[in-house]
Subunit: 484 residues, 2 copies
């Protein structure tokens, strides 16, 4: 038997995740810098596919790829005061080279790249004809996290795409935020099978230097939410500091309106495996699985030649469209193999034994529903096509049920407390997401260890109630949850 | 007129390259850290394609992708003494985080990743069944170069793939070097159109920590060679230091034989644009061009509707297989556009004017041969297919003529000097590429400012002559050239 996960996801999510990471061979925690974690092939193959899907989405919407340096001079970094205040505690600094020679200036390992992008934009953008100016880069990002790190979900080095766009008007910038939300839906939901809600974050929880922040929250194990891609209305603050101007049609100089969008692919990967994994191990969206179909001939000692011939025929047919492997190793039992490929999240397993040969059939097991069935030889391709087509949709469905069923409407602090204990996301009337609501949010954090996630970005929700904390007339309906 | 390159490649290569970089908008030299250069979209699009082609090649030969941390603890880095001696002067160190807090240990920004890979290999490799163990990563690499930097060709941050493979035997490792040379041929020559020779480097010029180094040299402008992908027989030195062992079939513990292969994609991109560019600007292999076909309607003021209709029809047909754009801007003249797209290295330009409409023809200009021709409307697709098919081959041919014609056989130091002045690569009898030949190589470096590049890796060349420097009986035929 392959060594499976012994912790239960429902009972001890944290231990389950740690075992999943190790036993499915996704990362190795033995690398000797805290919070820096090697990704092994079974994770990296999927992560590469996710990068391509996200880049394709950006390419389709008129973004072009560029590549900026990893290091940012201290003086760039310090130009925008809110930004530096927000990020300074987390910056790693390069101060030396060679055998201890001091550099003339300190360089930040980018904790995000606004201060590199916008300096260059001040050179690259000249005229209204250059706008919209939409560029992105794939980059590794470094943050000296104070909170406890966790592979993929919160790490000191992570891997993302960041798109920085410049516009002539505020309206164009706002339209970009809508496009970012749509792109997130096309990838995060449709490709990575992660149901989520986009919130406008409260003013006290926005990106350091932005006017407004919009972020997708997904519901993870143990009822906590996890922030996934966020997009920000940066406004003109950085434009003014970095001098990102354009000559408008009327000949006048104007500052650009900027947005930035940052899907952290490695973090999304972490969310994805948390969301879909079960006590047997990984489940992966069909197009992201490093191996899609494994064929396991059983009782090889009996009809070896015939079994391998049949397995080869099936493989040949299926590998026209899928990633397929035959596992004919004799030093592992079929049972060991079944457990192993379930642990690894291989979507489809085909078993063939001597008796199947006689019946001209095979057994097909599917990981989305954890079911298996005997299928006539001649129907194998159609049957597999059908599973492939509905597989990712099934993962979305399973995750959505979990999500929708976990939102609770409450009106009082008492009910809120109870619902949070039941691992729900709370929908409540709340005084305000402007700075005057910050005090109520602090109390919620202090007494319930939960955060105000914001108001929905996809639809306007109205309230006639009073704020769950201060009792003043509520301006907003907000969502409150515990978060990673 | 688009502002073209004013320097001549043949006369002032260095100025030509600088202008090409700027005017074709490939990089921006204004970023404020020395040797760190932003890549703009026109470069990055091609570089991304090159990464995919190289990764595909590695995938095909059984390598799997992983992703290791960018930072390497000082103590790992210092474990292998030759390695640390070779790389220490070039390492950037992270020593602080936040507002000046000192880290407990210094971390190297990876100048190469042996000392991260092999630590993990000691955990991941257990048995002869795990071998060969072939893994690669795409990574950004940092070196505090002492020599003058130049965008793409020599930078303080660059972008590569590094493959690290572990084997049971020396023979398996040697076979991997052959596979690496073949992979280089499949990409560097066939896809990137760069003719090159693979040399076994002399012992005094090998990778720090390796037993043998093999490297591809390409012939660049002004007769200098540039080192492109290299592959190294690392042997067992690192295995012993990092404890990379496996249990062999007989039950005994053995150290792995390691190889590493490092195609520096950003550097290859630089070599590629140097090699193929001309006084009009870029030339790019057909599959790497960000835009493959531009359609320019001319005299738009005359037959605007008809011209745009025709252009649209042609685009619709061609974009089934190619990346196509129509440039119908009226504030730029056709002449400006022709120069602009030639500068940008767009392989094919289709011009359509009112007179072409009448004749039911278009003019097709091709950048590989810098020719243009009138082509009947109904033949456009076939004509374009033909150009697309032979385009990259033409670039290879042009570069090969240059390469082969630049190798000179000489027997004396006197002739060598002359040939080097004529910007030739020299083929000469030489005493030895073991350490006892180092003195002669030093003299060549000192008196002729040229380097012994090594002996050919692809064929054995015999000599009966005497060493061009010391006059002793020559053991080898070596190649000598000036290099970047």
């Amino acid at each position: 038997m392959a060594e499976g996960i012994t912790a239960k996801k429902e009972k001890d999510f944290s231990e389950w995740y740690t075992q999943l990471l190790e036993k499915a061979e996704l990362v190795d925690l033995r690398y000797n810098i805290k919070g820096f974690v090697p990704y092994r092939e079974w994770a990296q193959i999927s992560i590469e596919k996710m990068f391509r899907m996200m880049s394709d989405e950006l390419d389709k919407t008129g973004h072009l790829p560029i590549c900026l340096p990893t290091l940012i001079p201290e003086k760039n970094f310090k130009l925008e005061s809110e930004h530096v205040k927000g990020f300074a505690p987390e910056v790693f600094w390069v101060t030396e080279y060679g055998n201890g020679e001091k550099l003339e200036e300190k360089y930040a390992l980018r904790p995000t790249s606004e201060t590199a992008f916008y300096q260059m934009y001040s050179y690259w953008i000249r005229s209204h004809k250059d706008l919209p100016y939409k560029r992105y880069q794939r980059a590794n990002i470094f943050r000296a996290e104070g909170k406890m790190t966790r592979p993929f979900l919160r790490a000191r080095e992570f891997h993302w795409i960041e798109a920085h766009n410049a516009f002539a008007t505020k309206e164009d910038a706002e339209a970009q935020v809508k496009e970012d939300i749509l792109m997130t839906n096309n990838t995060l939901l449709n490709k990575f099978a992660i149901p989520h809600i986009f919130f406008e974050r409260p003013q006290w929880d926005k990106f350091a230097g932005a006017e407004k922040t919009f972020a997708a929250d997904a519901l993870m194990g143990s009822g906590k939410v996890l922030q996934l891609p966020s997009t920000h209305l940066i406004g003109q603050k950085f434009s003014k500091v970095f001098n990102v101007k354009f000559i408008d049609k009327d000949g006048s100089d104007k500052y650009c309106h900027i947005t930035c969008y940052g899907p952290a692919i490695s973090r999304i990967y972490g969310a994805m495996i948390c969301m879909h994994g079960d006590d047997k191990g990984l489940k992966l969206p069909f197009d992201l699985a490093p191996l899609q179909i494994v064929i396991v001939p059983v009782q090889l000692e009996k009809e070896r030649t015939k079994l391998l011939k049949k397995a080869g025929e099936i493989k040949k047919e299926l590998e026209k469209n899928y990633i397929v492997k035959i596992d004919d190793r004799e030093d592992y039992s079929p049972g060991w193999k079944y457990n192993y490929y379930e642990l690894k999240g291989v979507p489809i397993r085909i078993e063939i034994g001597p008796r199947d040969l006689e019946k001209k059939a095979v057994v097909i097991a599917r990981r989305d529903l954890n079911l298996k069935e005997s299928v006539n030889e001649k129907d194998v391709v159609n049957y597999v096509n059908k599973i492939a087509k509905e597989y990712t949709g099934n993962l979305i469905k399973q995750a959505s049920v979990n999500f929708e069923g976990n939102i609770a409407d409450v009106k009082t602090a008492e009910d809120m407390k109870k619902a949070l204990q039941e691992q729900k996301i709370i929908r409540v009337p709340f005084c305000s997401i402007e700075m005057d609501g910050a005090k109520c949010a602090e109390s919620i954090e202090k007494y319930y260890m939960a955060q105000v996630r914001g108001i929905r970005a996809d639809k306007k929700e109205k309230t006639s109630g009073n704020c769950v904390m201060c009792g003043k007339k509520a301006k907003e309906v907000v969502y409150i949850a515990r978060s990673y």
